[in-house]
Amino acid sequence: MSTGAKEELRRTSGSGTDLWNVVQPPTIWAVHFLISYLAAAILCARADRTAPLDPVFWTVMTATAVALMLIALVVLRLWRVEKFSTVDEDLEFERNTPEERHRFLAHVSLMLSVLSAVGVLYVAMPVLLIDTCR
């Protein structure tokens, strides 16, 4: 089988969207959340109550940028799967084929990316408003 045909098969039914891939976006959210929380917790456990949060601010901002970028990459990859097999406006994913399952998981993962991005943005908000360890 040629590489192209293999690639084609992988795209239509393959492991590109198994369950591990579906949970990628929320996992990115979880890691972003943990980094934000741990950065603040570790800094403030040692520092004075009035200590400025600048290092945490920059950590969270960097983590947010990276997380959103990673989610964007996931979306980009999924978008190709989705677009490739979207037929009309059929979003019910009711057919009994591996391709349909593939498309379905891609769609779920795509929507999870949106939710995860919203989650990442929400979690980034506190450092915009709070600037000390108080």
Partner: protein, 840 residues
């Protein structure tokens, strides 16, 4: 699939013979041996009934609470009794009802919903049930001896470490035991959804209940273990005075709060999602159309499953953590409302699109919606930290949590019971009584809990056995108590409906609600075999979409229509697309599971009373029972390599490695175990953050030499075990045995070396939290390695006796997998205790 010429299933004689064989194979044992049954239909029923039993018990405790609080300064029960009553009310409702009822209902329904004969590990389900029963009776029974836990259901130290009495030990050990049962059920259910779906049920065709069970199972796996780690630390403090939560010796009470709520908040979703799953099955049936937005439900269930782990600190807003930390959790707590809301809108959209049939389950579902949306909205308020500073630990929170639990769990559950009662019993519940109990409970519930929002804001803290007369709380509390009486009446009507003797008039016809999902293919009353033939699935609602489905099912034209070898069998399929890959033989009735559960129960109960010699004896007994069980009941050699399961498909009867159910069960169990372990290094680094010097500069440490030696020996044992699997696979049996023996020796020496570090440096775990947490890591890892040595010995014995061969090597695969996890555990332990002090 319709009748083809020459299909043997055309022969009615053959079909009758098949049915006879199936009935015989799947029959329940008679007489006292009935209790040795392991069929999911029996175990699920006992499990459900027992959970409800505990619920009624806890409900009575709730009524005592309301009676005491009906008027100010009442003296119905003493303060001490009241504290036991409310602690046990919360504990029993959460640990003995809300979580187990998920397992109970899932064990009962999941095989039917997946069209399977049974779950992959029926004896494990039975074992879990007996553990649950013993642990539950132990915890609840304590109140009759005035020895119940009295520190609140979240057991905050130091109150519970310093003053708890035996009640705190009963709570810790009794519930740890039940948590083990929960994890067992989670493993069973996850493997069930991933591997036991009927052929053709691609992930996108899986009933939503299956998705929810999968996600909730996964959540249990990551949520319960931190509590087990917490329980471990807590019990070490209570029994042996290791000061994890004692601030005078470097400990911190907040560590428990973190570990408890890392469990405790996901638990809310562990309770809520399975009940919403019942709604997801019912709403399409009564709307008479497919659910609108299947993928939205899957999205929101997965999203909730993840976000649910980022909320735990919202139970700790008032502990003085930095505002910015509260901010992160506030944000995540608001974010989780989005996926939760999506599910509700999917149901509403389905109702809008359909032509709704107004039935009793639908009535309860609408009630659930009304209550749950209210509870969700107060949740959105509470997520805002400054508001929570007022509402936290007040009756506002009591009201909020009851709204979410009644709306998110109780009402959907009762709806589900009205809906699924025929599948469990073959009878219908009464429409009239259903409506009566609904209105009584709905009105009673709201009259009880709506005023509590206000009592909380008027300054009534929770967990008070009384309140003064002059601060505006009298009328509200009287109202709440009156409501509780009405609600209790509603429960009684419901209980009467469920328990009343039912005659022919109540018999259910087949598929009484005209549903579309495969569980309704069952004969009424249901036959013992679970499924006459395991269907080939082509759509989400086969009963609606395929007019021939029932006939094909009845005439055995799907898979596995027979039990020629007189063995209990079900089909194992692949994870993503459910292609049949194995015909799994599942075990039948057994007494060893009950013996094992009772002995393990004895371990926990005897430990409560500090009878350590007896504890160890019971532990050895439990180990022996479990070994006997696995040796005689698992990885049995089939009489032939493969079997024709119908429709021209032949699959193997024995699988090992990642395609087998056993491997997945081990993998999932160890994922949970690893999560529990992570709780310990989390504790270590938690202490590091709160102390200026950690490890303390002047404290003795384990050094780096012994940990290094231990690490090398234990990683050697891992390599040896892995090699043993590879050697065995290549047929080099002698080398495999040698490798296992080396592994055992190396592991045993590794345990000694691991303990040698803290031992030779004289680390006293009662002196300070630093030696205590080091010893905790060493103890945990050593115990796990010791279990690994037993597993190695098991494989060695199997190889010698011919149970384990190069062809039948499932045990070797699973043990090798266990050791992969051990390698990680050992690495972390060694790096933390030996390596971190060098860089700190």
């Amino acid at each position: 699939m319709a009748a083809m010429s020459g299909d043997p299933q055309d022969d009615p004689e053959l079909r009758r013979a098949q049915e006879k064989r199936l009935s015989e194979v799947w029959a329940q044992p008679q007489g006292w041996r009935y209790w040795t049954a392991v069929n999911n239909s029996e175990v699920g029923l006992w499990y459900t009934a027992t959970s409800f039993g505990f619920m009624f018990f806890a409900g009575v405790l709730g009524l005592i609470i309301r009676a005491q609080l009906a008027v100010p300064d009442a003296g119905l029960v003493s303060a001490e009794t009241y504290n036991q009553v409310f602690t046990l009310h919360g504990t029993a409702m959460m640990f003995l009802f809300a979580v187990p009822i998920f397992e109970a209902v899932a064990i009962l329904l999941l095989p039917a919903i997946l069209g399977a004969r049974d779950l992959p590990f029926p004896r494990l389900s039975a074992f879990g049930y007996w553990c649950f029963l013993i642990g539950g009776l132990f915890v609840t029974g304590s109140i009759f001896f005035d020895a119940a836990p009295s520190g609140g259901w979240f057991m905050y130290p130091p109150l519970t470490t310093k003053y708890g009495g035996i009640g705190a030990d009963i709570w810790l050990l009794g519930l740890s035991f039940i948590e083990v049962a929960s994890i067992a059920a989670a493993v069973e259910l996850i493997v069930g959804v991933l591997k036991c779906r009927p052929p053709g049920m691609h992930l996108n065709l899986t009933p939503l209940y299956g998705w929810y069970v999968l996600i909730v199972g996964g959540m249990i796996l990551f949520a319960f273990p931190p509590l087990i780690a917490g329980d471990f630390l807590f019990e070490m403090e209570r029994a042996f005075d290791w000061p994890f939560f004692d601030p005078t010796r470097g400990g911190d009470p907040l560590l428990w709060q973190h570990l408890f709520w890392i469990f405790g908040h996901p638990e809310v979703y562990i309770i809520f999602l399975p009940s919403i799953a019942l709604l997801a099955m019912m709403v399409p049936t009564f709307a008479k159309r497919p659910v609108a937005g299947y993928s939205f439900i899957v999205l929101s269930a997965i999203g909730t499953g993840f976000l649910g782990f980022g909320l735990w600190v919202h139970h700790m807003y008032t502990t003085g953590l930095p505002a910015v930390s509260l901010g992160f959790f506030s944000a995540a707590s608001e974010a989780v409302a989005i996926p939760t809301g999506i599910q509700i809108f999917v149901f509403i959209a389905t109702l809008m699109l359909g032509r709704v049939e107004r039935s009793v389950p639908m009535l309860w579902s609408m009630g659930a919606l009304a209550i749950f949306v209210a509870g969700g909205l107060t949740g959105v308020m509470l997520a805002i930290a400054p508001f929570d500073f007022q509402a936290h630990d007040s009756y506002f929170v009591v009201a909020h949590l009851h709204y979410t639990l009644f709306g998110g769990m109780m009402f959907p559950l009762i709806a589900g019971i009205y809906y699924y009662y025929p599948i469990a019993t073959g009878k219908m519940l009464s429409r009239r009584l259903g409506i009566w109990s609904f209105w009584l409970l709905f009105v009673g519930f709201n009259v009880t809990f709506l005023p509590m929002h206000l009592s909380g804001l008027l300054g009534m803290p929770r967990r008070v056995f009384t309140y003064p007369a002059d601060i505006g709380l009298d009328g509200l509390n009287m109202l709440s108590s009156a409501g509780a009486a009405i609600a209790a009446l509603g429960f009684l009507v419901f209980a009467w409906d469920v328990l009343r003797p039912k005659g022919e008039a109540d018999a259910a016809e087949r598929n009484p609600w005209n549903a579309g999902t495969v569980e309704w293919q069952l004969e009424m009353p249901p036959a013992p075999w679970g499924a006459r033939s395991v269907p080939k699935i082509e759509s989400r609602y086969p009963l609606w979409d395929d007019a021939d489905h029932l006939r094909n099912y009845d005439e055995g034209r799907f898979y596995l229509p027979d039990a020629e070898e007189m063995q209990r069998e079900t089909i194992v399929t692949s994870v993503l697309d459910a292609e049949p890959i194995q015909c799994l033989r599942v075990p039948g009735p057994a007494i060893v599971t009950i013996v094992a559960a009772f002995l393990l129960g004895a371990v926990f109960i005897l430990a409560t009373f500090e009878l350590y010699a007896a504890t160890i004896a019971a532990g050895i007994g439990a180990l022996a029972a479990i070994l006997y069980w696995t040796w005689t009941g698992t990885a049995l050699h089939p009489e032939k390599p493969a079997k024709d399961i119908g429709l021209g498909v032949t699959v193997p009867l024995y699988l090992s490695g990642p395609r087998s159910t056993g491997w997945w069960a081990m993998f999932i169990t160890m994922l949970g175990d690893l999560t529990a372990f992570v709780g310990l290094p989390f504790g270590y680094f938690f202490f590091w953050t709160i102390h200026e010097n950690f490890p303390p500069a002047d404290a003795a440490g384990p050094g780096w030499v012994w940990p290094l030696v231990a690490g090398l020996l234990l990683l050697g044992a891992w390599t040896a075990t892995w090699s043993a699997r590879l050697l065995n696979g290549r047929g080099r049996v002698a080398a495999m045995r040698l490798s296992l023996a080396i592994g055992m020796a190396s592991a045993s020496a590794g345990i000694a070396a691991l303990a040698a570090g803290p031992w030779w440096h004289g680390m006293d775990p009662t002196a300070h939290v630093y030696p205590a947490i080091v010893w905790a890591l060493v103890l945990w890892t050593s115990l796990h390695v010791a279990v690994g040595v037993i597993m190695q010995a098991y494989c060695l014995a199997g190889s010698v006796t011919g149970k384990l061969t190069p062809r039948y090597d499932m045990d070797m695969w699973n043990v090798s997998l266990y050791w992969h996890f051990m390698a990680f555990t050992v690495l972390v332990t060694v790096l933390v205790i030996g390596g971190f002090p060098l860089v700190a």
